[in-house]
Symmetry: none
Subunit: 141 residues, 4 copies
């Protein structure tokens, strides 16, 4: 995950949010789960400082979008308690998505946080990934 | 959030608690989530040392009263696991409320903790905000 | 340590700081090291949010003013590394002082933080203790 | 501290590093110590993920450049042990600098990390502040 790609993804996520009148933070991590770029919109809540990077990290760490983890992490689920693991760094609600290259290899993750409904965080992240889809073919660690 | 305002809010919350025979702690943070004032009533449990500031921080960080977060943070809710995020600093039961200025901008947060029923913490926080409502118009970071 | 006493001590520390043109935070903990009252002056740095309570806690926890701990905590000292213990909660520079009752029993601690020179934090804490000396005779947990 | 300003500062710090053949991360926090923007150059070490934001936070929290804290935090210094306080979030080597508006009020902080010699981190941060000096007059929380 190159910085320019990470910044394009953050910018695209923030643009998507702005179009919908949302205030969010966006973070992109590399395949190691380490932050590459972060941006918090003016007025976006400070929870995003923690949640956006942690969503991106969680998506990479578990090879899954964070909104797919909730059911597994709930009581009775196969990963019950996942949200409390990793010293509280795993987030199991929507907004974190793994980023894959053309071969399907995970090369990083994006995390968006700040919308009142996390489904909107997810949509911003997905739209960012679509907008910069071209960059993903060339994405490499 | 000025110190005098924060102290008035703490005092009002403690007065409300005393009227109802409750022993609580009250904390007020600024818009950055950083503590401005804290007071623990004689005999109030020491959980309030952690919970009152963290409730206030949570309310600011998530732009919502903490009692509105419990349902969302529970299994099946849109924010399941929120209580375990942020390294355990988010509290999703009642007692934390964002403080807004006349324009609706969040200028800080109040957190009350110690009542056996968190609903009573909420009421103390709300009554504090009502009592010192006049100060909120002038509240600024 | 009663709340009224703790608040008087905080107020006295802040008054002492204001007289000297300093911006500080003040915290008072009880004999259990648990926060009773905290106040941060308008414009005082946010380090005080952490350091003032931790100085007060350190003073109680180690039965000594924090400015007396630096030498012992330094390389070659009998408590080398103390400042890194307690998950980073021990502070070994000036500003934390145990509060004793008439019999010499430690009933709490005061912590002041924010002055460019910690010696000024110490002086504010000491002046606060002198000003409210009368209350200490009656101080009880 | 607006996002556009924070991003300009990060970009300027990275440009300064690139000119000198250095690989760094840059972070900008607001007056509350909360992250606004972050960027890590391709190939820059992952320590910067933690150190750049924490340097920026430390500079704001203590109202001082982090390179001025090392001597004070060393054994025998007035702030010995500062680096171990705040649960390890204070960094006392160079690379963090408070950002002030025209009136001298601290409106945020910049942190740069990654150069083999922290003196180079400092220079990158300083050059970033110089390059975008014009934006500081208008900087507001």
């Amino acid at each position: 995950m190159r910085l320019t790609q990470a910044q394009q993804l953050c910018a695209a996520a923030l643009s998507a949010a702005a179009e919908d009148g949302l205030l969010v933070s966006a973070a992109v991590v590399d395949a190691g789960g380490n932050l590459v770029a972060f941006a918090r919109m003016d007025g976006a809540e400070i929870a995003g400082v923690v949640l956006a990077p942690d969503k991106a990290y969680t998506a990479v760490a578990n090879s899954a979008p964070t909104h797919e983890l909730a059911e597994a992490a709930a009581p009775g689920g196969p990963l019950f308690g996942l949200h409390a693991a990793a010293q509280g760094r795993f987030v199991v609600f929507g907004g974190g998505i793994p980023i894959r290259d053309a071969a399907g290899t995970i090369v990083g993750g994006i995390g968006v946080s700040g919308a009142p409904d996390p489904a909107d965080d997810v949509r911003c992240a997905e739209r960012a990934l679509n907008v910069v889809h071209g960059i993903l073919a060339e994405a490499s660690q």
